[in-house]
């Protein structure tokens, strides 16, 4: 039996009396896209933040590549191989798209304490960064300050950054949010390819994308996972239809 890349066991996060994460267990298997869906306020972001290291769980375990991640901060988890994007794009706005990716390449090389050699003439940084920008279709925009990129381009830039980390798993937090129909379509195609780089835990509201991409879907409602299964199973799950797809029973 193959081991899960990411394994979450009995995770709980309480904010006072509010159970934002209520006994959540889920796995991310090699090569799969596991989508996490749920209505607003279901606790998807809280869960993502606990996985990425921004929030500490009240109890429970998060294992990544067999290793307990308790006590690891966000940077340590990224170094361990967790590549993420954010619900609201998080980029260095003053730097060009290229520099944003170069930062990830240099982090991957493990060498930020070099003080003299100019980045602008360092081919070992620029070339791999350009390859990643090409891969997401941003090569022509490499010199544009990231803050001046369009919303959709920033989403792609974040994916190029995550890719440059050569991660062991992707954590994508609503990558389709705010994209038009065309944008969602091309991003869906890109994500479909990326599952061969590393498995993807995908939080997403866009149901067309989720149904097109996901190998498995978990449904989160009020902090609890009420169902996990294939696209077909989730589509026909009565409780899911009631709680999430908004159909009267």
């Amino acid at each position: 039996m193959t081991e899960p890349v990411l394994e979450i066991l009995n995770l709980r996060k309480n904010f006072g009396a509010l159970k934002a994460t209520d006994d959540v267990s889920l796995t991310l298997m090699p090569g799969e896209i596991h989508a996490l869906i749920g209505p607003n306020g279901a606790g998807k972001s809280t869960l993502i933040q606990q996985i990425s290291g921004a929030l500490t769980p009240t109890s429970g375990t998060i294992r990544f590549l067999g290793r307990d991640m308790a006590g690891m901060d966000m940077a340590a988890r990224a170094r361990a191989g967790l590549g993420r994007t954010f619900q609201i794009s998080s980029i260095a706005p003053e730097f060009s798209a290229l520099r944003n990716v170069i930062l990830a390449v240099q982090a991957r090389q493990g060498s930020s304490f070099r003080f003299f050699r100019p980045v602008a003439r360092d081919r070992s940084l620029i070339e791999p960064a350009m390859v990643m920008l090409e891969r997401v279709g941003l090569a022509a925009r490499s010199r544009i300050p990231a803050g001046e990129l369009s919303h959709g381009e920033r989403r792609l830039l974040e994916i190029a950054i995550a890719l440059s980390l050569e991660p062991k798993a992707f954590l994508f937090d609503e990558p389709m949010a705010g994209l038009g129909a065309d944008g969602s379509k091309s991003l869906t195609a890109l994500l479909s390819e990326l599952r061969h780089v590393a498995p993807i835990l995908l939080v997403e509201h866009d149901m067309d994308a989720v149904f097109a991409l996901a190998d498995r879907i978990s449904v989160l409602v009020y902090g609890r996972i009420i169902a996990t299964g294939t696209v077909e199973e989730i589509r026909s799950h009565p409780e899911v239809r009631r709680a999430y797809l908004g159909e009267g029973a």
């Binding site: 990425s52 921004a54 901060d73 966000m74 940077a75 340590a76 990224a78 170094r79 993420r84 954010f86 998080s90 980029i91 260095a92 706005p93 003053e94 730097f95 060009s96 290229l98 520099r99 944003n100 170069i102 930062l103 990830a104 240099q106 982090a107 991957r108 060498s111 930020s112 304490f113 070099r114 003080f115 003299f116 050699r117 100019p118 980045v119 602008a120 360092d122 940084l125 010199r143 300050p145 950054i161 980390l165």
Partner: protein, 325 residues
């Protein structure tokens, strides 16, 4: 290859700062040479602070601590050499500038390490306050420590020595300070373009972004804080030698504020911002200080104008918005 507008302005500023005192010395006006030396030293201190504040976004309100430490290193080493009394553990004083500079740089860095390590656990206004608190502790310590003059300060009887240079004359001493300023600017420029600089500037723009590629902002910021303090320490040693005097006022929060003002005036995070800022500051002090004791009121007006209408400072006005490739 054509130079950018900012590069042209930078070269012009560098040449101007060199030409004015050389001409003044030729014309027998040593006072203006001293004024230019003051500009060069304050600019060097502000270049140091600009590493933390401009590149890293770390608004330290305590960098006078490192400026004063540099000053006291110069004063204390010189006074022991003059009295021929050993310092501690049989270490002799010295009047050699290179030795004093290295000592000032190292001690400023060693003091900055724990101060930075504690202060950088906070951000925003708390960071400002905690750096201020540390600097005030050192200020009151110096003021109440009678061995080296306490509140009265400590005189340097003769300016310290540099091999092959008559440092007692204004122009040679200016040239020493000018060369060190250029070296400081060179360091800033290298850091800005390096991998370290990329990480540091990302920490300022978006610390979460830095963390999520696997670089912990703390280590990057702490390194910048220490390097920054070392440069300011060197400037402090030069300042003590310029005035042949060091007192707790070099450690005071006024001094910390002055350094921040120089940067904001000239252009935060701009290579020559501190030079432009220091030049304007010293010119204001000289031109208006002769007319009224309240010259800082007018400086305040200028600062207000800069903050409201020209966020990029003087260099922003002259050279336009900063661009990164």
């Amino acid at each position: 290859m054509s130079m950018s507008r900012e590069t042209c302005i930078n070269i012009l500023l560098a040449l101007l700062l060199l030409a004015v005192p050389v001409a003044a010395a030729e014309l027998g006006e040593p006072f203006y040479v001293t004024l230019a030396t003051r500009v060069a030293i304050l600019a060097l201190a502000a270049v140091g602070l600009n590493i933390a504040l401009g590149l890293g976004g770390l608004v330290s309100f305590g960098h006078a601590a490192f400026f004063g430490i540099g000053g006291y290193v110069a004063g204390i080493l010189a006074s022991h050499a003059f009295e021929m009394s050993p310092l501690v553990f049989g270490i002799e004083g010295t009047t050699s500038m290179p030795v004093i500079w290295l000592t000032a740089i190292m001690i400023a860095g060693l003091v900055a390490l724990p101060i930075g390590a504690i202060s950088l656990r906070t951000t925003g206004v708390y960071f400002i306050m905690i750096t201020l608190a540390f600097a005030q502790m050192i200020y009151y310590f110096a003021e109440s420590w009678p061995t080296y003059g306490g509140a009265d300060g400590l005189s340097i009887i003769m300016r310290n020595q540099f091999p092959g240079v008559n440092t007692a004359r204004p122009l040679p001493y200016f040239l020493i300070c000018y060369c060190l300023l250029i070296a400081g600017l060179g360091l800033y420029w290298l850091l800005q373009g390096s991998r370290f600089g990329l990480a540091l500037q990302t920490a300022r723009q978006n610390a979460i972004r830095l963390s999520s590629v696997g670089i912990a902002p703390f280590g990057i910021r702490l390194t910048a804080f220490v390097i920054s303090a070392m440069v300011v320490g060197l400037a402090g040693a030069l300042f003590a030698d310029l005035n042949k005097f060091v007192s707790p006022s070099m450690l005071s929060w006024h001094m910390s504020g002055e350094l921040i003002v120089l940067i904001i005036l000239g252009g935060k995070g701009r290579l020559f911002g501190p030079v432009a800022g220091a030049a304007v500051y010293v010119l204001f002090e000289f031109a208006l200080g002769g007319l009224t004791e309240r010259w800082q009121f007018f400086l305040g007006l200028v600062l207000l104008g800069v903050v409201l209408f020209a966020r990029g400072g003087l260099l922003g006005l002259l050279a336009g918005k900063a661009r990164h490739d």
